[in-house]
Symmetry: C2
Subunit: 341 residues, 2 copies
DNA sequence: ACTGAGAATGTTAGCGATAACACTACCGAA
DNA sequence: TTCGGTAGTGTTATCGCTAACATTCTCAGT
């Protein structure tokens, strides 16, 4: 590749010299300016190819004040939900011609989120998506230095930034109503961890559906999203097998734990107890029995968050603080059936 | 925040004026140069705080020629393996004071990988980690424009770049030997997709262990990592329940599918057939029965890849092209037992 | 008091690109 | 012929920072 540039990678001036034009003309070719003669353009392109020239985006970003890079702040991208969301965001960003820089927090707290955001701003990102599924993370969005567009995914309606999220309460309503419609007297619930907004939303939808239907509202069991915590909840539910006929579990991983506990305790699903999960991870279809669950469209969440972000970027700060809600779907499989079936 | 900078974000010169020093002194404070009087330093820091100044890393990168950003090229970061690897890389990079820019490919082919790498180089990353678990991706590393350190994770020994990976063959040996030791005559295998190096490595270790032990080598079944493909393989294996007593499945998701198929066909695990998986995803412990599997330490892979990359960065190109292998572990659970137990 | 070595600070010159403006052709209309 | 408009190109300034060198200050040793 690079010849006659003395070892160092070629810069625009080298291309200009090789093509016999000014560096500005090279810049025009690179940026598709209309006022360049076709012959000149091809001569420049030839020189670029010959020298193996690559534009220095850092220098470009310095003068244009745009890096065409977006920042993403997330939490534990090993979990299916966050991983899928981040993937969706990355794909949507790239389709829009943007790069993605990721900061994956180990623990989420106000300071961590704020630091991550500052870190990204220093790096010169044009906008930031914060995947903030926890109350404490959402809170961190309250005290923000303005000046850069931010979108929260799965965050609360903090009022400070636009939010894109799946309608958790609606998903819980679908799940609970499905079980009631099958004929169950009431529905038990294994909720997610306290600090998570998604867990709250699911409790809310479940609670609302039961009370609207005038049903008894059982004590809520708690988990931390992990299969193990579901297993523990399942052990407790198994001891109450007489009074429990249907359980709405706040995610699929915990559902797996509940199923395992039931299997160990000889509780048959769905004959004795029906189970509905949440997320529709790829494994759910192959649980024993296959899990009825609520599917979230993470790809849509990613795309919308990028849409909103780029909207802010292009239309300036005057943009309305929207709240974009993606509807979930119920996927019915073998883990739910009429009581005593 | 920012006052007296006329609306625009403050720059170093603004801080300098506010502190009554030159911008160079501000730079020195920011870069922890020794030759700054303590009193001056604190005056500068005060001004920084007062103005809400944030250093422009883009300008800094332009002059230092280092962005302190690393690029990661990956494939389908929704899968547990890649997601965990990327997470490990990101954490290790941040601990080392580096940012991470991610390009997540939808499909992996030579052109895609090369474009992604060029894309990242243009962006000014200091080095690149390519998570290239497929043969075609590894091939893309052959024809590389040099000039920037690259490390392959899970890639083949292409000879062009250093590689960090888990010893797949060793994991397969552990799994197969475990089943033989339990007393099984031979071990069947459900392999991963053709193009994947990990799938090849696992086949290799399995095959080698069987032939070393002088056992018959059964026909290999194929899957694509998905639970569904495991399910289909499981259906076939169930029809041969008489002659099959042990199966080594190339990942945990497929193992789940196999388990599901066996459950449907009334094949009991581990009484009739033992199963060993690979990966140790968080769900495996709660399968029915809990899955014996091979654990990969993705965190270690991430850390080592960053180590190698930074090593290249700091010690120049003279670095040896190493191959760093992380050993896997066997995790014994309920899905494996002596034959006919 | 004088000197010289270092510490502490300031000044100038880029990094590699784009923006803004200046300039040269060339065209058709007056 | 003269003029104005526009397509095509070049020149200069600038983005915000650090490197390199220049300068001033401080203080011990004579």
């Amino acid at each position: 590749m690079g010849s006659s540039t003395g070892g160092r990678p070629p810069v625009m001036a080298d291309v200009a010299k090789a093509a016999g034009v000014s560096h500005q003309t090279v810049s025009r070719v690179l940026n598709d300016h209309p006022n360049v003669r076709a012959e000149t353009r091809s001569r420049v392109l030839e020189a670029i190819d010959l020298l193996g020239y690559r534009r220095n985006m850092v220098a470009r970003a310095l003068v244009t004040r745009h890096s065409r890079t977006l920042g993403v702040v997330s939490f534990d991208t090993t979990l299916y939900g966050p991983a899928s969301t981040v993937y969706g965001i990355e794909q949507a960003a790239r389709d829009a011609g943007y790069f993605v820089s990721i900061v994956s927090l180990r623990t989420i707290d106000r300071a961590g989120v704020r630091d991550a955001i500052n870190y990204l701003i220093e790096q010169g990102v044009d906008g930031i998506v914060v995947v903030a599924p926890q109350r404490s993370a959402a809170a961190a969005l309250e005290d923000l230095s303005p000046g850069i567009p931010i979108v929260a995914v799965e965050g609360g309606h903090s009022g400070q930034v636009p939010v894109v999220c799946v309608d958790q309460a609606e998903g819980a309503r679908l799940a609970t109503a499905h079980l009631l419609k099958l004929g169950h007297e009431t529905v038990w619930h294994v909720r997610g961890p306290q600090d998570w907004l998604e867990a709250e939303g699911r409790v809310e939808g479940w609670h609302e559906t039961l009370s609207t239907a005038g049903r008894e509202i059982p004590e809520v069991l708690s988990g931390d999203w992990s299969p193990r915590s579901g297993y523990e909840a399942g052990k407790r539910l198994a001891t109450m097998a007489g009074e429990v006929s249907a359980v709405f579990v706040a995610n699929d991983q915990m559902s797996l734990g509940v199923l395992r506990a039931f299997t160990e305790e000889g509780v048959r699903v769905p004959e004795q107890i029906s189970i509905v999960g949440f997320d529709d991870i790829p494994e759910s279809e192959f649980f024993s029995p296959p899990l009825t669950t609520v599917r979230q469209d993470f790809g849509a969440v990613g795309r919308h968050s990028i849409d909103v972000l780029l909207g802010q970027l292009e239309e300036g700060a005057a943009k309305v603080l929207e709240r974009f809600v993606v509807p979930p779907d119920l996927v019915v499989r073998g883990s739910s059936a009429p009581p005593g079936a």
